[in-house]
Symmetry: C2
DNA sequence: CTAAGATCGTTGATAGCTCAAGTATACAGA
DNA sequence: TCTGTATACTTGAGCTATCAACGATCTTAG
């Protein structure tokens, strides 16, 4: 109790330590990653996340609710985030013929270009900061373990 | 490319998938955890984090810079966070006899009580949402893997 | 002893997100 | 058909954390 190795001392030995590492690793990597993304491309991590989802979606379009559920943001969070992407001209609003409540977010040509231009460097950053710390097998194992964590609660549709 | 399993489809097969899972898991668990902590004890995840660090520190006191480094916040972040804890009466400021620049954050008796009162339920929540998804060995393995991730950059003292 | 540079901490402005509330539309049952 | 409830989205207020700039103090080299 007189020693001082702060963040480890506290939870040493307990299962808690794993959680703390998880938290810290997230904070550190995320900080670095978004700093780079911001500096090089003027994008937030969430911006990028949305861009990816749209890029790979059929017709590069997704309902706002669905977007919210997959990137784990609130409905209002998505509204404001898309505001930004719309102002930048990368995403457009498209209304739905069969349901006047819903509006789609669609990637513009500029948006597609933006994403394609961003992708490589961001993937490289992830590789450097995250993946490179593991061998192939370890990476797989880690992915498998992380995949067991509950993603529920934001998407009530999950129990279906 | 016509299928729709959103968050997985996008990165399927690549190492990226692991990173995405990491991100999503963090968002989901963190959201749940802090909702409970807030509801039951009126604390932020970061508040709690600071409380733990102080609790286990010698004399329940820590310099603000050190606190910042270990919980991975900015200096100014710590200032404002401690503002709150001070207003609530759980933490006090203490100046340093040998260096007028530094000020310590010290846990008050109320703060100690608060932490002890909070601890059990929060640990249980972590256990439920996080640890319970793994066996002992898996937990260890996960912890080991996460421990390899870089925490650097906020603490330049790291290279020493 | 003094000047230059680091370090510790706070503050103003701002970003990104949340919650709560509100509007508008859809749908299901009497 | 009307009524109630669920769903899609937006908006205002507020919170947490950031960055950039600043004042204070310490340290080191001339």
């Amino acid at each position: 109790m007189t020693s001082q190795v702060l963040s480890t001392q506290v939870t040493a030995g307990s299962e808690l330590e794993t959680w703390v590492r998880f938290l810290r690793a997230h904070a550190a990597i995320t900080r670095q990653l978004s700093a780079r993304l911001e500096a090089q491309h003027g994008l937030t991590l969430s911006d990028y996340d949305v861009l990816v989802q749209l890029y790979f979606a059929p017709e590069q379009a997704l309902r706002r609710v669905d977007l919210a559920r997959t990137v784990l943001l609130t409905a209002s969070g998505i509204t404001r985030l898309l505001d930004g992407l719309e102002r930048s001209g990368w995403v457009e609003k498209r209304s739905c013929k069969t349901d006047a409540r819903v509006s789609y977010a669609v990637l513009t040509t500029a948006g597609i270009a933006k994403f394609e231009e961003t992708q490589a460097s961001h993937r490289a950053d992830i590789e450097e900061l995250f993946s490179s710390n593991f061998t192939g097998t370890e990476g797989k194992k880690l992915g498998e373990l992380l995949g067991r964590l509950p993603l529920a609660d934001t998407s009530p549709a999950c129990s279906a």
